[in-house]
Amino acid sequence: MGKSNVIGFACAYTPLALIHASGFMPCRILPVEDCPDQAAQLLHDNLCPHVKRLLDRAMSGNLPELAGMIFMNSCDAMRRLYDAWQIVRPGDKAILVDLPVTASESAVGFFCAELKRVAGVLETWGGTAITRDKLAGSIRLYNQLAENFSKLRQAVQNGGINNGPVVLQEACNMASCEAPEKAVGQLEALLADTGVMQPDDGVPVYLFGNMLPEPAAFALFEACGARIIGEDLCTGSRLFKAIEADKDGDIFLDLAAGILRGRPCARTFEGSQPGRLAGDIVEEAKKQQARGVIGYTVKFCDPYIARLPNIREALKNGGIPFLFLEGDCTMRSVEQQKTRIEAFIEMLR
């Protein structure tokens, strides 16, 4: 292993346990730092601000020291980021991992082979050989993290943590950039500190979308009178999910199935249930007894752009008020919509 043991990643479908099992530490590169806007030299303005801001960070050298970067082929924009990354950081080791859009048996088999390829690549990058036991151990560790997050989420719902949604998002960001051992410990410390309180009297709202890593955004929702009672975000609950690993079977296959069959974001779907995402959002909002739904996506995100009309209609048919916010991965863009958020919450009261 070289100087750094950090593997950067940018997508919630990244096989974190695999990276960890090879002795590396996965670290999410979030579109959060304020770097000069240079990505346009290589990437067109019509690409989502998520990938552009990551490229800005890469071009400004505003990154942790990396042993390599893993890109998931989640969408056209992410593929273009991989392309541009190689130009602006030719010395970086980088791999583009193909990612099926469905979780059919053959897709899971394909993804399993991709994960085995990644394991081989990680080894050539200086990682240790991935044994079954090591991978099983890493999966267990991430499962522990996922479980801690479920408990933390529950505690936030119950009002057991001051400033709950903000703390939760900070924890998510921390866990996506830190070693899982450390993250598990930090979450346990947080959980030990939870009290028993009444949830605040904010209006219960369900939140879905893609990139919203700013804890301040959650503070803003609260300040506008919302209580986020559940979320489905790339930078939130979608990242850490429990993976069932069969004791005897091919553990790579379990990992592939666990990742692909987790709660899908807009880019993943089932051919037999087209449009399912819209139904899932309605169902989840109802289950959580949300009075309204807020959708937050970054501009130019094709997977969401195409699904939004159906989501809008499904929510309308379900009698659930909907507010759609489009952003650019900056707090500024969320703040600019404060009045709309306030008005929406007011309408829900």
Partner: protein, 405 residues
């Protein structure tokens, strides 16, 4: 309405050809009209598909299949895209999305898309295209089969896609009651290989300096010919081009040509009526000698391993994989066709292609080929500011001229 449109188009083209007023473009347009008629006849089993679906295989199974973007291009060419784009706006389909897909969505809402028997989505070339197929499947309440097109041929990728295509044939068979007839498939693949061979001859002729091609001849050719593969018609159309180009080459060696600049057109043409091609030819002596998708990147399909061959063909589209593949392909075309420059109409909503504008620029500049990026919408004529575009083209041509001097 569409049935009438395509019937009239077919009748008009057929009459012109019968009257001895034939041209390869008319033969090609005639097949487009016939496909349109079949799609709108209400008689055929129709499948809406992604661009890299195996249309010849579907045809063998008695299915009239077509990629959905064809409808986007069609409504653009008939000047009606605006109405459908407005309909898409109305349901909240962001105008930042690809206008081919927005137009298709609007057309579906307005009842202009015939109801399919099923849909075949392909993960390539773009995320937006697959998403629109998912939406159509939901809207028409029809089943969707998704072909995951791997990024390259490495590892077990070809076998993986070939198996998906076998499953797809089973899916089609379950829905239509028609099972795959191996004899018919072999026959169709014979036509596919024959068309492939003649299309290669056409492209080779187009490389001649001066080129026998006019700016309109091969517009949308490669991508639309994929819809006719597996049929005798595809061979007939390709032969019409080959013979006409051979004739023009003979005549131009006798009569000379006024070709001054040779151009590579990146990705797709502008689909609505516009003066760019005419202006290039008449005012700039510039010929579009090659379009990015007018190329054959796949080997003839082995009749004993058809599914593997079809899989390789779907993987081979230059839009697949990393930009390195695509740039390498563009560089090869630029050199093979000896072009002086390239035009890239950067369709606003296209992340796959337009998103890579800067990367493509770099790649072509590296081999000394300047690129003119036209920021535009290739479907929505309402956003087309003719004067501005023509001025930019003229400046580009002047620049090429000074490089030649």
């Amino acid at each position: 309405m569409m049935m009438e449109y395509f019937s009239n188009l077919e009748a008009g083209l057929q009459a012109a050809i019968n009257d001895g007023n034939a041209s390869p473009r008319k033969h090609y347009a005639l097949e487009v009209a016939r496909l349109g008629k079949r799609l709108y006849s209400g008689q055929d089993k129709v499948a809406w598909c992604g661009i890299t679906a195996p249309f010849d295989l579907l045809g063998t199974m008695g299915v009239t299949s077509c990629f959905v973007e064809f409808i986007g291009a069609m409504v653009a060419s008939t000047g009606t895209a605006g109405t459908f784009l407005e309909e898409a706006d109305h349901i909240g389909y962001s105008s930042d999305a690809c206008s081919y897909h927005r137009a298709v969505s609007g057309a579906a809402i307005k009842g202009l898309m015939p109801a399919p028997a099923f849909l075949i989505g392909t993960t390539n070339p773009c995320s937006g295209g697959l998403a629109v197929l998912e939406n159509l499947a939901a809207q028409f309440r029809k089943k969707l089969f998704v072909l995951h097109i791997p990024q390259d041929e490495s590892g077990g990728n070809v076998a993986y896609l070939a198996d998906q295509m076998r499953d797809m044939a089973g899916f089609v068979s379950d829905l239509t009651g028609v099972s795959l007839d191996t004899g018919r498939l072999k026959e169709a693949i014979g036509h596919t290989n024959a068309a492939r061979h003649v299309m290669n001859e056409v492209y080779d002729l187009a490389k001649t300096v001066p080129s026998p091609v006019t700016n309109r001849d091969l517009s949308n050719f490669g991508i639309v010919m994929a819809l006719f593969l597996g049929t005798e018609a595809s061979v007939r159309v390709a032969k019409a081009y080959r013979d006409e180009f051979a004739r023009r080459i003979r005549e131009s060696s006798a009569n000379g040509s006024n070709e001054k600049f040779r151009l590579l057109w990146i990705q797709n043409r502008v689909q609505f009526k516009n003066p760019i091609e005419k202006h290039l030819a008449e005012s700039c002596q510039a010929t579009i000698v090659v379009d990015e998708l007018n190329d054959i990147n796949w080997a003839p399909i082995d009749p004993d391993n058809i599914f593997e061959g079809l899989a390789r063909r779907s993987i081979s589209i230059p839009f697949n994989g990393t930009i390195r593949n695509r740039v390498k392909h563009l560089q090869k075309l630029a050199m093979d066709y000896k072009v002086d420059g390239a035009i890239n109409p950067c369709n606003w909503g296209c992340r796959q292609g337009t998103g890579a504008r800067g990367l493509i620029d770099e790649g072509l500049r590296a081999i000394g080929v300047p690129v003119l990026n036209l920021e535009m919408d290739c479907v929505d004529s309402r956003k087309f500011t003719e004067g501005q575009f023509l001025t930019r083209i003229e400046a580009f041509v002047e620049m090429m001229d000074s490089r030649k001097a």
